[in-house]
Point group: C2
Chain length 348, copies 2
């Protein structure tokens, strides 16, 4: 197995090192060929360490599989991306991205400010030829054990039709390389299935995709088909994608908690029974657990950047690290770069 | 109890008279003070009637509680609204709306083409002073037995900040009059809770709402808070609202069906047990059943127009008729007209 090296922005997200550090240790334990750059405030990092983790960290540092790198500032969530980028020098996010830029790391994972991560990534790592702006993409579990590549999940609140077409092409390549689907179906998210429905930019993108022989464009899908597996790639702008994904996550949470309530009983037998049913159902729904598919890839860059959910816990930040590992192993940026030249409607 | 008169577009939606007619009979059975105009192709209507319903229809016609009105054309879902409106003469949707215009009916219910219904309603029934374009609004059940007024659910795919502010004001009045909330909380749907997040039009609307003393504006909410009851009114453009609502509906359907699967068993005892658990959980989740809250009100018109889901079955079309009854009884258009003049930021 080839060696893997990932840079982690340890100060990012709602919980910073409190969850990034244990997730990093979990990943080092799990993947013997993995090395990690942990970028953050070293005092803060060590203050969150359990005795056991302090020992493990020392051991991994000894083995040169863990390198701690001091950062001096943090880009917070309430910073405007333009401001954050201007003041990014010395921040954990920027240093982690620079490690990728200088080829010390193969991928960067951050749970920080999406706009800043997008802007800094574009600035430092550059977009692929033909891509105006990278998109956040994730593979969402759908019915019947299918998966759907959904993009943009929030990197670009405003998108024009060219960007939607580029997202469709990148999503298609991802479905081919990661999901191993020979001819992925590509759909646009819209508010009706008829040709005349929706926004101008969506209709314009549909016209381009229809005329592209290399794309298996199947038309519009509506919100209710998000998880039905009717398409392999679903394209939307970053605003709609973000709201939709978060709606799904919120609803699953509500469902799970109402479900627990509805099986709450006093008698011992009933409690036992409820537990059994709960386990059974949880097993059936676990594929929908947002934590399991945390980690959206910033697709369209020359390198790999994974955005974790800001509210990620240890388990889901670990899932984001695993996304980075998968992206390195499948060599996504290169595959997309190779395919883009032929797939894009015109050289730009 | 005052008499209620409603005009139904019997040819609308995916199933037309097949579901509209039995839903109409159900409503007449249920509400003794209700009269209905049923507008449609009379041959087609009678072809779908069971023996019992034929008898009931004759009886209600006899009592003058049901009047059948012949229409000659149908506005289909794939028609561009502008085309549909130009060719609307003699259509079931237009005739139903004209019955409201001439004060023969107090409300119209249609499951037809949203854009055409919106355009024709505006043309025939006019918007209230100060409202640029009506919005589709529905009351969505949230956690803890709360309800949230959500708009726009799809009448306006593109909205500017003025429209978002008008939606907020109309939603607030609806929450006051229908949900009986004294000082409703009003939020904008966005992709982050920080002030700098989202689209220009949302930030502009936020600035106006913040400076309006009469509105209890609480800021941005994200998709995951759609059903948590954190706000009484949630405002978004019609594209996002439609995708989000359909995503919720789709997910609930998936949940319910996966749930049935996960409790599928061979043994008799297990089957019995599964049934029991299923009933218990269904009871807990029934508040989320999209069929129960079918019927979005086209808010901002001088009269009452209710849009049913295109794929409504009898039960949910009946729910849409009940929405119309509630809107008549609470006299929504007049309440909004009265409150608008003082609530709107400036006379327009």
């Amino acid at each position: 197995m080839d060696n893997l090296t990932i840079a982690l922005d340890a100060m990012s997200g709602d919980f910073g090192p409190r969850i990034v550090v244990p997730a990093a240790i979990q990943a080092l334990n799990r993947y013997p060929n993995l090395s990690i750059f942990l970028v953050g405030n070293l005092t803060e990092i060590s203050s969150f360490l359990s005795k056991e983790n302090t020992k493990l960290i020392a051991q991994y540092q000894n083995d040169s599989r863990l390198i701690l790198i001091e950062s001096t500032t943090v880009i917070t969530n309430d910073m405007k991306p333009s401001y954050a980028i201007r003041h990014s020098q010395g921040s954990s996010m920027r240093i982690a991205l620079e490690l990728v830029k200088e080829n010390s790391a193969q991928a960067c994972v951050s749970a920080g400010n999406t706009g800043a991560l997008m802007g800094l990534s574009k600035l430092l790592l550059h977009s692929l030829t033909g891509i105006d702006r990278p998109a956040l993409v994730a593979t969402i579990p759908a019915l019947n054990n299918q998966d759907t590549v959904v993009l943009d999940l929030g990197a670009n609140a405003e998108c024009d039709s060219d960007m939607l077409v580029q997202f469709a092409i990148m999503g298609e390549i991802l479905a081919k390389t990661v999901l191993k689907i020979e001819t992925p179906r590509v759909a646009l998210l819209n508010i009706g299935e008829e040709d005349i429905k929706g926004l101008d930019k969506i209709r314009a993108a549909a016209a381009v995709l229809k005329s592209n022989d290399q794309i298996n464009y199947i038309g519009y899908l509506e919100g209710n088909d998000l998880l039905t597996g009717k398409t392999d790639v679903l394209v939307c702008d970053g605003f709609v994608g973000n709201v939709t994904l978060k709606t799904v996550e919120g609803l699953i949470k509500i469902f799970m908690s109402s479900f627990k309530l509805s099986l709450n009983h006093n008698s011992f037998l009933m409690k036992l029974l409820s537990k059994w049913v709960q386990r059974k159902i949880a097993k059936n729904f676990c594929y929908l657990d947002p934590g399991r598919y945390n980690g959206a890839c910033l697709l369209g860059l020359q390198s790999i950047v994974i955005k974790s959910h800001g509210s990620a816990n240890q388990k889901s930040f670990f899932a984001a690290i695993e996304q980075a590992i998968l992206a390195i192993q499948t060599n996504i940026p290169e595959k997309i770069a190779t395919s883009l030249s032929s797939a894009l409607p015109k050289s730009e």
